[in-house]
Amino acid sequence: MSVTQLLFWFLSFLAIGGALMVVISRNPVHSILFLIITFFAISGHYILLNAQFLAIVNIIVYAGAIMVLFLFVVMLMNLNADTEPPHKSKYLLYGGTIAGASLMLVLVAAIKQSSGTIEFKTGNIGLINTLGKTLFTDYVFPFEISSVLFLSAMIGAVVISKKEA
């Protein structure tokens, strides 16, 4: 087993274990910390795929900014086991099961559709130069559309925060 494979298995274990702990953990703050670990593991996978730019952006944006805001909200609301409602609705359980099963189905279908295997350390789509070129040539339209989406989200956030005044 090469070092790369070893790293792959380690990162996969970390990612899946962390993701499971996000769900299992009773304390929401712990859940978020496990989610951060998961993000790190995924960034590790990106690096294995030679996509360093994606890896670091994943860390900066998700682990560095969004998770901090999550943590922020959870800490301020001080959620813990006492604030949980004692009996959850039965429908929630059914809904969750169905949604999970559907997601599973989609995942299985996606994996079956995927074209063969992906080589480690090859490909350069995740490097900043190629990624930039691709985004601004082949995918210019979706890129601009998503920027419009972000802009509308920003305006929405401003409008919501201004509602009281």
Binding site: V3, T4, Q52, I59, G64, V68
Partner: protein, 354 residues
């Protein structure tokens, strides 16, 4: 190549890591001392001068004192997270040093050893990633303290760091447009024979400098530990060396961010007004590396002095002033700087004519 095992390379990098970590620890130690000395000099006092000649052993005495203090872990706090907080703060502070080019290269045992631990092609983004991790040390520690003042300090730190990271990033984008690379080594090499980037990006440097002050929680942005409002801020509940770690991490952050600023805007290890290639011919590789590293340290020392100088001059911001400065002044200014840089680059590429 990535992940190829080369024993000599590993030993070489390991040695470099040890040297960088040790030197940043020593520098941080003596920065605490320098801070007190500079404060004293600026206020017409003597400062610490009892421990050893000129008080040079003062940082050792301080460290020893912290080690011998009682470790207190609050009853209702999560013990693991309580210890994780300062450890994370220290870890992220140390990790940034990996991508900074401390010098060009040295020649030992028939090998050219680069004085940069990792020349990754996303260099400066790595610094950003690690810095954005730094806030977790503070947040986790503050939450695990189970103390509302600590939590307030942590929340302030988080919102402050996130807010100023934006302006910092946008200011940096303008610089990246000029340099066309993310690697710190390439950036420094570009500046070796031409103007420093601060000439090309004065506004960008200025915004970056202010944001670095905010990221390091230094006065006038030291609201997370505003002692008149929040007791001790996020480290209220900490004692002994865990408190020491928090304090130390701040100084290591200062050291590393000074190094980053020097590399990005002030030519890194470039010697001003000297033709480096000609000097290299004269003194040889190893001496050149020593001179280069010394030059970088001179620049770092200047920035560290600037940190202290500002700290003992300006009073602390109020929280709404801090947020207003970050969101309403620095970000628009950085955006303007980015647009201006882009326009100038376009003009230049088209030969000053459309």
């Amino acid at each position: 190549m990535l992940l190829t095992v080369d024993l000599a390379l590993i030993i070489e990098k390991l040695a470099l890591i040890v040297v960088v970590v040790m030197s940043s620890l020593v520098v941080a130690m003596y920065t605490t001392f320098a801070e007190r000395k500079v404060a004293a000099v600026l206020q017409d006092r003597s400062g610490p001068n009892r421990a050893g000649p000129f008080g040079l052993l003062q940082p050792l005495a301080d460290g020893l004192k912290l080690f011998f203090k009682e470790e207190i872990i609050p009853n209702f706090s999560s013990k693991f997270l309580f210890i994780l907080g300062p450890s994370l703060a220290m870890l992220t502070a140390m990790m940034t040093g990996a991508v900074i080019p401390w010098g060009d290269k040295v020649h030992f045992f028939g090998r050219d050893i680069s004085l940069q631990i990792a020349d990754i092609n996303i260099g400066i983004l790595y610094v950003f990633g690690v810095v954005s991790m730094g806030v977790y040390g503070i947040m986790i520690g503050s939450w695990a303290s189970n103390n509302k003042y600590s939590l307030m300090g942590g929340l302030r730190a988080a919102s402050q760091i996130i807010s100023y990271e934006l302006a910092m990033g946008i200011a940096l984008i303008a610089l990246l447009m000029v340099t066309g690379t993310l690697s710190l080594k390439t950036m420094v090499n570009q500046q070796l024979d031409s103007y420093w980037n601060v000439v090309k990006q004065p506004l960008g440097f200025f915004i970056f400098l202010i944001c670095v002050f905010a990221e390091c929680n230094r006065t006038p942005f030291d609201l997370p530990e505003a002692e008149n409002e929040l007791i001790g801020g996020y480290h209220t509940e900490y004692s002994s060396m865990k408190l020491g770690f928090y304090l130390f991490a701040e100084y290591i952050n200062m050291f590393i961010s000074s190094a980053v600023m020097a590399s990005l805007f002030f030519g890194g290890y470039d010697i001003p007004l000297v033709n480096d290639a000609a000097l290299l011919e004269k003194v040889g590789t190893n001496w050149m590396a020593a001179i280069h590293a010394g030059m970088l340290f001179v620049k770092i020392a200047f920035f560290l002095f600037l940190f202290m100088w500002v700290r003992w001059t300006l009073p602390r911001f109020r929280y709404d002033q801090l947020m207003r400065l970050g969101w309403k002044i620095l970000i628009p200014l950085a955006l303007f700087n980015m647009l201006l840089t882009g326009a100038l680059i376009l003009v230049k590429q088209n030969g000053w004519s459309f």
